[in-house]
Subunit: 459 residues, 2 copies
């Protein structure tokens, strides 16, 4: 695509100017003070599509609006749905920013501003790539649908409701999301797996009030002791979760995947230093990356009981509670895990203690095959733009919208992160490499070409 | 002692008036607002001794003063040290009091006021009994020393410092304390055992900040998980504490003691209903009273980690902590238990977790032989005054000052509670039965007579 790449090179300066324009809009979705700025960012994004000649809609939700656009129909060609978000994280603590968060400043080849990497810059790459195709070729090689939301950083339900209601309208052959990171500098990545989650809260109740630990201790069931016992019973010495059936449906890593994980330059010492821990631990028989990306977990996220103040209070607490997170991997079923958890906890709950288990949420993990034609198309595009083949990584966290696309649209979700893990996405001095911005646009333009030869369900 | 009992009967009304005068003084030691009232109560108590012709001192401490007095020397007779306190608990929540806490009101034979049972009424019985002896016989049959403090309810160090410094001055053959309860109505008790305590705080640290449980979960040691595991490891399924050497020095109950405990009318259903629990639990092989009075315990008094708010936060906490109470029985040594605890925790502390153990306090248990001549003297006195022999009970809690007397003065401490367990000692509507007040005075007067024939170390 020499002509397209030429166009991209010629327009670098203007692309950056437009990118910076968007960065100047303080579209903090979590803070009502910025309501008008969020709306302005939505209009700015819609304006980009209109300039391309794509009919764009600003779709109201219960919160901030969605921007939806479609490229002109290319009959018979595959369809990709691009997802991104135009809203940004809050900027506190403001005093830690070197330059103001909404005045983009370039230093050492990076642009510093809130939203630079997450997700304005990354999202924009897929708009500018379309512009290049239209300018040079007069048309796109595939069909593009864009769904750009404004509530990603504030947990809004708008996009979920929309996807659920408009599955037909959003029908596509794959989804493209650039809202994550490369594995490292000059080491682009395709994220092929996300973990799912079961998040539950356990509440134990013993006596009807806090009792004196001297007068009652030894004869009355203590919910704090019971909590320790029950939480400890959920995992064994080898780091294996003791929920019945927990591992039944886990998709095991193939030898090839384990080799590939092992070949990644993972610096354990740097990782340890970064979190200030003295040792890495976890399920026996697995490496750190395997534990993080491909194995399910059990973490206590919070716990409380009795007296937490200074000094000593001799109390036998009336209640104790804990928040539990189980990270799931494909194909674990959250409902089945919750049922097993309930059984196990009931089994180990001691006499004299009442147990209540509340499930806050559950979601499946997502796995995209490295061998899928869409993944392979993305790999070729990334390699051409970045000069290196992407590594196939996974992510230990969950991204609800990706699960949504995967489950409701039934297609592969291509997670093509152009950012870096030190972009300070939710911290002061967020940045995005301008080189990565431009390589992202090139990769995106190339991706449309590569996807054109992929199979399509038609529509 | 017909004449003395006659005197007591004749003076009932005046004794009550004087008792109520003391109750009208709002001697709340924990609240600086009441500083002058506390001082006034000390002067009131000192005034009582002066009227008996006992030289009385008001002894300043770092906090509220001690009142100290001695009866005129009776050569060759044994010496009893009476301990009590003139300060009272706070009165919040005031709106739950039927009548104001410092306006004594008599209802159904009880006087309602803060401090009625704890400890003004009980303490005063040992003053009025001396008055009767002096009025009727012109002298006491034994030597009495009185140490009445004003910081019992606020944890002041004054009395401990004084006892430590003035062991010679306080030298005696036994200590008499009335600051507890009968086993039930018309069922007087002598408390022959108190448990000791080790109270410690465990702090676990993992990563240097709270981490995302998705991005890091499975590979990083979680201090909340570790806390559950470590706390659970301190006790087994049969309720046996797993600290090395924990039971080595425990004085086992004799068959006679177990029979005697078993013969007490302990209503398990009522006990359960009172605390709203569904079952009583504890160390295998022991009854509830044995567990409460004669067996050591392990209770988690508080615990905390990570997110404790509403809903879900997917955090892998940086730290977790717990407060631990071990109730000890004679002859367990707190220092040895702390050492064993430290060893055990270090043994079960998982890799990647730093552990800090702080000991807040430790104290030995106290055991007074039922067969000691002083206990037997008290039993005879109680039976004569109450018309029923006392039962020998123990108390699961610790009373630091009793441990102090036991250890520093090396004598038996007679815990003769005239109160009832429903006297609301630290709650609104505190009360004391006037019948018990007068029976307490009679028992005290009889006690001086009975102690006169006990062995004495001389002085």
């Amino acid at each position: 695509m020499p002509n397209i790449n030429e166009y991209l090179d010629q327009n670098k300066g203007r692309f950056e100017e437009e990118f910076f324009d968007l960065l100047r809009i303080a579209s903090i979705s979590a803070d009502p003070t910025y309501h008008d700025d969020v709306a302005r960012a939505a209009r700015w994004v819609a304006g980009q599509f209109e300039r391309l000649g794509f009919p764009a809609e600003i779709i109201p939700t219960g919160g901030h609006p969605l921007v939806y656009a479609e490229s002109p129909r290319v009959p018979g060609a595959p369809t990709a749905l691009v997802y991104g978000h135009y809203d940004v994280q809050p900027v506190v603590p403001l005093e830690l920013w070197t330059t103001p968060p909404f005045e983009p400043a370039v230093r050492d080849g990076n642009v510093f501003a809130r939203g630079a990497s997450d997700d304005k810059g990354q999202m924009l790459t897929h708009v500018k790539s379309a512009e290049a195709w239209l300018a040079v070729e007069g048309q796109l090689p595939i069909n593009l649908k864009y769904l750009i939301e404004g509530e990603e950083e504030c947990g809004g339900q708008g996009v979920a409701d929309f996807v659920e209601k408009h599955r037909d309208r959003l029908a596509c052959d794959c989804v493209v999301v650039s809202d994550s990171s490369q594995f490292g500098p000059d080491r682009p990545a395709i994220t092929c797996g996300l973990r799912g989650i079961v998040y539950a809260e356990l509440l134990l109740t013993g006596p009807n009030r806090d009792l004196h630990s001297g007068s009652f201790g030894g004869a009355v069931a203590n919910p704090a002791n019971a909590l320790a016992r029950m939480l400890a019973a959920l995992i064994d010495d080898r780091g294996r979760v003791q929920v019945p059936g927990f591992y039944d449906d886990v998709v095991a890593l193939t030898d090839k995947q384990r080799e590939q994980f092992a070949s990644l330059p993972f610096d354990e010492a740097a990782y340890l230093a970064g979190i200030g821990a003295s040792a890495l631990v976890g399920e026996e028989g697995f490496t750190t990356l395997e534990r993080l990306w491909a194995r399910p977990t059990y973490d206590v996220c919070g716990m409380w009981s009795g007296y937490q103040g200074e000094g000593a209070k001799t109390v036998l607490p009336s209640a104790a509670g804990a928040k539990l997170s189980f990270r799931l991997v494909p194909n674990q079923d959250p409902a089945k895990i919750i049922e097993g958890l309930r059984c196990k906890l009931a089994e180990v709950c001691p006499p004299g203690i009442r147990m209540d288990l509340t499930v806050h949420h559950g979601g499946r993990g997502v796995l995209v095959s490295e061998d899928s034609p869409y993944t392979q198309a993305a790999a070729r595009a990334v390699e051409q733009a970045f000069g290196a083949p992407p590594v196939y990584t996974r992510e230990g966290g969950s991204i609800p919208v990706v699960v949504l696309f995967s489950e409701l649209l039934g297609v592969d979700v291509l997670l093509l992160g152009w950012g870096q893990s030190d972009d300070n996405a939710h911290s002061p001095n967020e940045k995005f490499s301008l080189a990565d911005f431009h390589r992202g646009i090139k990769a995106s333009a190339q991706l449309w070409e590569e996807l054109a030869s992929c199979p399509t369900k038609g529509s």
